[in-house]
Amino acid sequence: MQITESLVKNLAELARIELSDAEVHSFADQLRPVLDFVGQIQQAELTDAPVDEEAPVPLRADEVHPFPNQAGIIQQAPDAQAGMWKVDSVQS
């Protein structure tokens, strides 16, 4: 498994984390031993779980309860309008 800078750039893109070229280089160096280490897991011969009958999950009544601190939520918004979060369109 080759941990190249190109792979790291791709991972950073997928994880939506902006990194400088120096950071990409440094992360590649750090990730190599970690991924080698966890890669050991492939040594084990293991099987998938058989399909289990599931224990019944107790369900609660489907009742609407207004959240007691809606104002607290919107107060955290970096930008808000009319009680809604304001953010750039996905189209832009």
Binding site: V38, I41, P78, S92
Partner: protein, 484 residues
């Protein structure tokens, strides 16, 4: 009041006529005197705490007394939210984040009468084994200020070890309560997964996280646990199973207890000085009447690899919410949405968090998911099954909590893998969802060594009983670091 109070000391102070305001004030004095040096506390809520203390005094004067946590000062890890108060998760991305609802665990403490004094330092988003990944400050081990207190709940551990409070709350995903407990000469306890609500705990890995106490004694840890445990409609992963009440044993007998010693926890990587302390503890267990049984957990050596696949995978999903849209840091100048996400997370997350986001992304990605993530899921299931069967033959499993003594500040920060190895013995309990306890077991070169006990799921009381019996026979837990 004594410098390193237990719950008994607090109760004694009240019996002798102290007020809650007195006790809370004493705790803040301890914090204000020592924390400039030790760095355990991120934020204090002195005004609110004193006001709550006054209300508690009025209530108690009226004859209304609560249980063992009534009027007890506590500190909670800063990844548990409190309504109207800042919770940072020790990250820059949440520097000014104000909690919207108090975490269930914290609410339960407050209902039991505990007074929350403030929030404790941690590794950012609970990722780490030394508390060095905090974006805000370094926390030092009061036993030796050149050493780490352990992590990720280092601040919570030091708050008790340095005598600020008798008990505190941490969270444990791969050892983050037990390992700092071991490094700071404390009792640290991780309940069975599903025993304590995670509502209000900023999620790291949702299938691994649990909240639990730090204390000097097993009795104190159990008292905190009992206030926390139980079903919560706000956390669908909590169990409706009733909480077994526990009575502390009156002596140190371990007659009839079968203690399994898994050989894989005593192999390469274990420091000989730690091994010596644990071997002596085993002798004590035997002298107490326990039957020591050598056992083997063949999958244990791969548990850490499985953990460092599953944890980053779950964490990368849980931390996707920190994107600048609804709360926290938001880097909005310039072009569009994707840049906002990337810049916010590039600036707001520390290095370790970024590393784990990328590892998680990798192990879940197309082409690698089966070899890494799904293989780790298979290993987890098989390991859980092995442990489950093991508890037919033994009552508890015993091992060192950590493979090494507390290490130097800065020693592992340049080598992430070396830091991950600290979790070698603690991750199996999280993977299998079983309860685990770390107990003070002695010292090597003046530094604390913790002993870990694990039991079958829902058998918290077995752990408490064995741990309390051990504490009847030993005095390690009564030792405190020098006050400078």
């Amino acid at each position: 009041m004594t410098q390193f109070p237990t719950l008994t000391d607090i109760h004694q102070a009240y019996a002798e006529g102290a007020s809650v305001v007195d006790v809370v004030t004493d705790s803040y004095t301890a914090i204000n005197t020592q924390d400039k040096k030790l760095g355990a506390v991120l934020s204090r809520r002195q005004e609110q705490a004193l006001s709550e203390a006054q209300a508690a005094d009025a209530r108690r004067k009226n004859g209304q007394k609560l249980g063992p946590l009534d009027g007890v000062p506590m500190i909670v890890k800063d990844n548990m939210t409190m309504a109207g108060e800042i919770t940072t998760a020790a990250s820059n991305i949440l520097k000014n984040y104000v909690g919207v609802q108090t975490a269930t665990a914290v609410e339960r403490l407050q209902s039991a009468g505990a007074i929350i004094l403030g929030k404790a330092n941690l590794d950012e988003f609970a990722m780490g084994a030394s508390t060095e990944n905090s974006a805000y400050q370094v926390t030092k081990n009061p036993w030796d200020e050149t050493k780490v207190p352990g992590g990720s709940s280092g601040g919570s551990a030091v708050s008790v070890a340095a005598g600020y409070v008798p008990v505190s709350l941490g969270s444990d995903t791969g050892g983050s309560i037990r390992q700092p407990a071991g490094f700071c000469n404390l009792v640290g306890f991780k309940p069975t997964y599903g025993r304590v609500s995670r509502s209000g705990l900023i999620a790291l890995a949702s299938s691994l996280d649990q909240i639990g106490p730090f204390a000097h004694t097993v009795e104190d840890a159990a008292a905190v646990y009992e206030a926390l445990a139980g079903c919560d409609h706000r956390d669908a992963t909590t169990s409706a199973r009733p909480v077994t009440p526990w009575t502390a044993p009156t002596d140190g007998s371990l007659k009839g207890i079968r203690v399994g010693v898994p050989k894989e926890f005593f192999q390469d990587g274990l420091d000989s000085r730690v091994k010596k302390v644990i071997d002596e503890a085993l002798t004590e267990f035997e002298a107490a009447g326990a039957q020591i049984i050598d056992v083997s957990l063949p999958l244990a050596p791969l548990a850490l690899a499985a953990y460092y696949i599953l944890l980053p995978a779950e964490a990368s999903a849980n931390l996707a919410r920190f994107d600048g849209v609804r709360y926290g840091l938001s880097e909005r100048d310039g072009a569009g949405l994707r840049e906002m996400y990337s810049r916010t997370r590039g600036k707001g997350f520390g290095r370790e968090v970024q590393r784990r986001m990328m590892i998680g992304t990798f192990v879940l990605s197309a082409g690698y998911g089966d070899a890494y993530y799904h293989q780790a899921v298979r290993l987890r299931r098989s390991l859980t099954e092995q442990l489950h069967q093991m508890f037919d033959q033994v009552d508890v499993l015993l091992s060192p909590t950590s493979p090494t003594l507390p290490f130097d500040l800065g020693a592992r920060t340049q080598d992430p893998l070396s830091m991950y190895l600290a979790d070698l013995y603690t991750v199996p309990a999280n993977l299998a969802g079983i309860p685990a306890l770390s107990l003070p077991a002695g010292f090597a070169e003046g530094l604390p060594v913790g002993l870990q006990l694990m039991a079958a799921a829902w058998n918290e009381t077995t752990l408490f009983s064995v741990g309390a019996a051990y504490q009847h026979r030993t005095e390690w837990h009564t030792k405190n670091p020098p006050r400078s």
